[in-house]
Symmetry: C2
Subunit: 335 residues, 2 copies
């Protein structure tokens, strides 16, 4: 294999919003395979809010990406060379192969995906890490009961859009918070949410009062900041707040805004709990199998927004943090 | 009964720190008893951080005290007249009789306490609402396991001092955070805490690193503010944070300081949960019985700090909010 590999390597720890100069665009030859290894041609790269945290220094749930390392990312692609007995040329696989065009990896670093059940990019979205995050974060941490009111922020994003749909399947009243009329229309008209709140044009506090007259039983938070505070102020008794992310805060130059209304947890005997999807990896197959059957039955809509061109990775990442995508944002590597 | 009753009635909703002018000092005759009622001469009045919240307008876990109403307070005293078959003259009772010298109440509004088991003021402290708060907040919400590290703030206060002692009885390593050398010495030397952090003279972050090398499994928070943030930064995996109060924030003129480090809940898959002691009133007798036996066996130290003179109520309340008391602060009404 004489192919040339292109990569984005971390060049600097970002200050505020990520920018192109935080990455080095590098070209290098594809290395030789050892026994048990495969060469994967990466087809799609996942763009995730969590990437911003991985670029920062400091203790978190995974080690930070080191300066000079290939940027960490979820990927799907095709095996194009194999010295493995488990994986054959032509197999479609998913794994943490990073922001590059080709990856040499051990056979256990990737797993096969079934492109008859869903298109390849869906394995980075509803049937990938975001879907599994939504599934366990909602069902295990939020633990909604039929008839309860579930609110989700980042509702038109990869995780939020799945959270809301699962909550509907479980018989809940579902209110999504998203930015802009297109996203709000989509989650109500296409995904079946009961209501949408456009935080860019509406008074979120007033809208929550209107759409959640009996309070919020479960809040699935992807954004933090002012919206978290608004929902805290509307909690029902014994509410559960699942902390999945805080995208509004990731590119802050200032300190994180803590939730001023956290004493609502006391008044309402409520709980706020964080979780990380990697703790659920052992149970991911059950979640993926159930969500795949929902997709097949037309009960779960999976949508990806595809940015073309490997070299556009930094711009695509900015697009994510500006909240411009609807559904799961992926970068298409090849043609 | 021709006795004259003195009362403190709420005159104004406080701005910032409570002050004498927020109350009216009122004199009125003691009213006649109806059937089933008793007249209680109040001996001790409880001074509680929660009082600041009851004086404020707005939705909380109990309705606010109305302007013109007798200030709400827990009390203990003696029945001096009775038209009840349940309660006789001479009985010692406890109940929510307010900041006054005498109260006419229905027989079901108070319950008898046993002054052979403990002195009367202890029924406002370790064997009263603060003790029950400590017991269920720690054991139900914090759920410490033997060998775990428990941190409590307001550690020399009515609730915190009991929390730490119960955690020791359950086999935990216990670190208390308190203000000033006297309190810190008391909780270590007399109550048996493993360590104390004086937040007025020490770097709390550094001290937590030193005293909790494996992180904090349970944090019982009475104070909020900077100390809550410092402990959040030290959470262990699967930690539980019990939100009991936020005394550092109650007299703020500015907005409450939300915990900037709340994303530590995500990184550590941890939980922050609020609770209110009134939810546990049905189970209070079991807690009081167990704590009374611990006191009898010398395993639990109950300490009250007594302010003399009914007319000093507003000053005593300020003393509480300035953190000047060690143990449970009570106001002694009579001689």
């Amino acid at each position: 294999m004489d192919a040339v590999n292109h990569q984005f390597r971390l060049a600097a720890r970002p200050q505020g919003m990520v920018k192109r100069e935080d990455f080095d665009y590098v070209e290098e030859p594809v290395s030789e395979l050892a026994d048990g290894q495969v060469l994967v041609r990466i087809a799609y790269i996942s763009l995730d809010p969590a990437m911003r945290g991985w670029m920062a220094e400091g203790r978190s749930y995974v080690p930070p990406v080191q300066i000079g390392e290939v940027m960490r990312a979820g990927t799907v692609g095709e095996v194009v060379e194999s010295r493995s007995r488990k994986l054959a040329v032509g197999d479609r696989v998913s794994g943490w192969l990073g922001v590059q065009q080709y990856a040499v990896c051990n056979e256990n670093e990737v797993f096969k995906v079934d492109t008859d059940a869903a298109p390849l990019p869906t394995y980075l979205g509803a049937l990938g890490m975001p879907g599994v995050t939504a599934y366990f974060g909602l069902l295990d941490i939020g633990a909604p009961k039929e008839g309860e009111t579930v609110v989700v922020s980042g509702a038109a994003g990869a995780v939020g859009s799945v959270v809301g749909q699962i909550a509907k399947l479980k018989g809940c009243r579902v209110v999504g918070i998203a930015g802009g009329p297109e996203k709000c229309k989509w989650i109500v008209d296409e995904l079946g949410f009961d209501a949408a709140i456009d935080y860019k044009s509406e008074d979120v506090n007033a809208a929550l009062r209107e759409h959640c007259p009996e309070g919020v039983d479960v809040y699935f938070d992807n954004v933090g900041g002012e919206i978290l505070d608004a929902v805290l102020a509307r909690l029902a008794l014994k509410a559960r707040v699942a902390i999945c992310g805080a995208i509004s805060q990731y590119n802050n130059l200032d300190a994180v805004k803590g939730p001023s209304n956290y004493m609502s947890l006391l008044v309402n005997r409520a709980r706020m709990e964080g979780f990380v999807v990697i703790d659920y990896m052992g149970r991911a197959p059950e979640a993926v199998a159930e969500m795949a059957s929902w997709i097949a039955e037309g009960k779960l809509v999976a949508r990806e927004e595809v940015v073309e061109g490997f070299e556009n990775f930094p711009d695509a990442l900015q697009r994510l943090f500006r909240g411009e995508n609807v559904g799961k944002l992926v970068l298409k590597v090849g043609s």
